[in-house]
């Protein structure tokens, strides 16, 4: 099973890390991005691997391009006019460049889920929120949907709190619960990658701790790419970390290495709190 996730040999040459037993789930190579053809590049030839069932953290000061990079993974930028990509993100096992104009962004989003900075549940019931991803995929079988909803709410650690009120409005939940609902909503569709865009930045410390635990737990089932401005969070959760600065990827490696012996001066300055 794991074999099929293994990248073709040419993709592995550039990155050799860790135990060597990690399999590639996606590979970003020479990715540049502009919001407008006339504007400067917000991302500048960024390359990094995303390993299967691992947590990859993107860190860096505000405006470094980490959220922009994350939103490339599910082609969110396509919603707005005039944005342009160069380079590619190859998704495995399909081995397709998901940034290619040949690929429908909607199909990318069906494979790659996303959780946003601020909890954004739909003003519908809890049940409808989690079921929505399945609904747009044309799944109508109620028993299947119910099963999926329970499974993903359990995964998101929300099941015990909401199982008796699935028909309640999602907006009535607390902020932390809403964010876990959004995670459940994304998990219900079995994403190949789950993108988390500063998922705890709008939450209180207790909810943040909850979500962090949850992230570590679900990585057994799903590949995670997380943007965070909280270095402790990255150090605690992430297997791999990449440091970005002004649209450049400065350094990538196992989190341990980045946080204990960074190779680049800028990375060191950032993680020791000298700027950012």
């Amino acid at each position: 099973m794991e074999q099929i996730y293994k990248a073709p040999p040419e993709c592995q040459t550039k990155f050799t890390f860790g135990s060597g037993r990690d399999f590639l789930r996606a590979k970003v190579s020479d990715l540049s991005f502009r919001y407008n053809p006339e504007d400067r590049r917000v991302l500048n030839k960024v390359s990094l691997p995303v390993f299967d069932k691992k947590i990859t953290a993107l860190i860096g000061p505000s405006g470094c391009g980490k959220t922009t990079l994350l939103r490339c993974f599910n082609r969110m930028h396509d919603l707005y006019n005039a944005t342009s990509y160069e380079g590619d993100i190859v998704l495995y096992p399909e081995g397709k460049n998901i940034l290619s104009s040949e690929i429908d962004p909607m199909e990318v989003r069906m494979r790659i889920g996303m959780v946003f900075q601020k909890p954004n549940p739909f003003p519908k019931t809890i049940y409808e929120n989690v079921a929505y991803g399945l609904k747009v995929r044309g799944i109508k079988k109620k028993s299947f949907i119910d099963e999926k909803i329970e499974k993903s709410l359990v995964q998101a650690g929300l099941w015990s709190e909401v199982k008796d009120r699935l028909q309640a409005q999602a907006t009535a939940l607390s902020g932390g619960q809403q964010q876990r609902l959004c995670i459940a909503r994304a998990l219900a569709t079995d994403p190949q990658i789950l993108l988390l865009d500063e998922p705890t930045s709008a939450l209180d410390p207790i909810s943040t701790a909850h979500i962090e635990e949850l992230i570590v737990e679900i990585k057994d089932d799903v590949t995670i790419v997380i943007v965070t401005h909280n270095l402790h969070q990255a150090a605690r959760c992430a297997d791999y970390t990449s440091f970005m600065y002004m649209g450049d990827l400065i350094e990538y490696g196992p989190s341990e290495q980045i946080f204990t012996k960074p190779q680049d001066k800028r990375t060191e300055n950032y993680i020791t709190g000298r700027f950012g």
């Binding site: 969110m76 919603l79 989003r109 946003f116 549940p121 003003p123 929505y132 609904k135 995929r137």
Partner: protein, 323 residues
Amino acid sequence: METIMASASDVENKLEPLSVLKSNLAVNVKQRKRSDFLFSLVGLMSLLFALITLLALFVDLAMTGVPRIDLAFFAEFPSRFASKAGILSAWVGTFAVMITTAFCAIPMGIAAGIYLEEYAPKNWLTRLIELNIINLAGVPSITFGLMALGLFVYKLQLGQSILTAGLTLGLLVLPIIIVTTREAIRTIPNSIREASYGLGATHWQTIQDHILPYSSGGILTGVIIALSRAIGETAPLVTIGALTFIAFLPSSPVSPEYPFLSFKWLMDSFTVMPIQMFNWISRPQAEFHVNAAATGVVLLLMTLIMNGIAIFIRYRFRKKMKW
């Protein structure tokens, strides 16, 4: 206690004398406080003036009109005799015209609103459409009547019918529906759209499952306000030559034969309540003025109830949809 007071006055004595700027501080403050108070009085009065006028209008109309309202008033056709006349053909006509107006304006207005908010690219054509809608909202209603007279009545030969009236009022209130639809859609934060797309929804699925349901309160408010405006609209219908003496009802919308629905009524002539009221006001006899007041009471109640519902929906939805 005394020592404290003493030391305080010592301190005061040590202060420099007040500068010229501050010498008449007390007087100045007093004056300005008075102007503040006076203005709040003037403001209250002008607000009250508006509200009292509104009240006077209600009371005057009700005192004259309400005693005239009974069941027969709704069940009788207009007549040469004021005491026998009723508004049967007028309220049926208002109802029929409103249905036609709603069918014409609501789908088109909402569709246009969705296009402008969710699809329209930023180009000259979009800008032209937007400017045009703002401008159209400011065109006098009687101009729509003149257009309808030339276009629907004479060019398209639709006659002075319910269809012509419905189309005219529909076009007249179209900008209201477009503008309120856009405003309602605009309050939905982008994060909701991104959540929907993020789950793999298409553009239309996002609109259908999220944008429309979440803005439905605002859109409904706009629709009701638009229809309440159309109900009271008189001038454009007078212009298309709506007859004022109609002692018959439009043909029935149900027919005994297949397909059981008939649209013949669309081509019938009609009268509506505001025209009936206008007709009665224009007569010199005071008895007809009583009829006019009674019609006015009915008309006013209808528009105020509709507006009340609109305000209520807006309030409820604002409470429910907190982003």
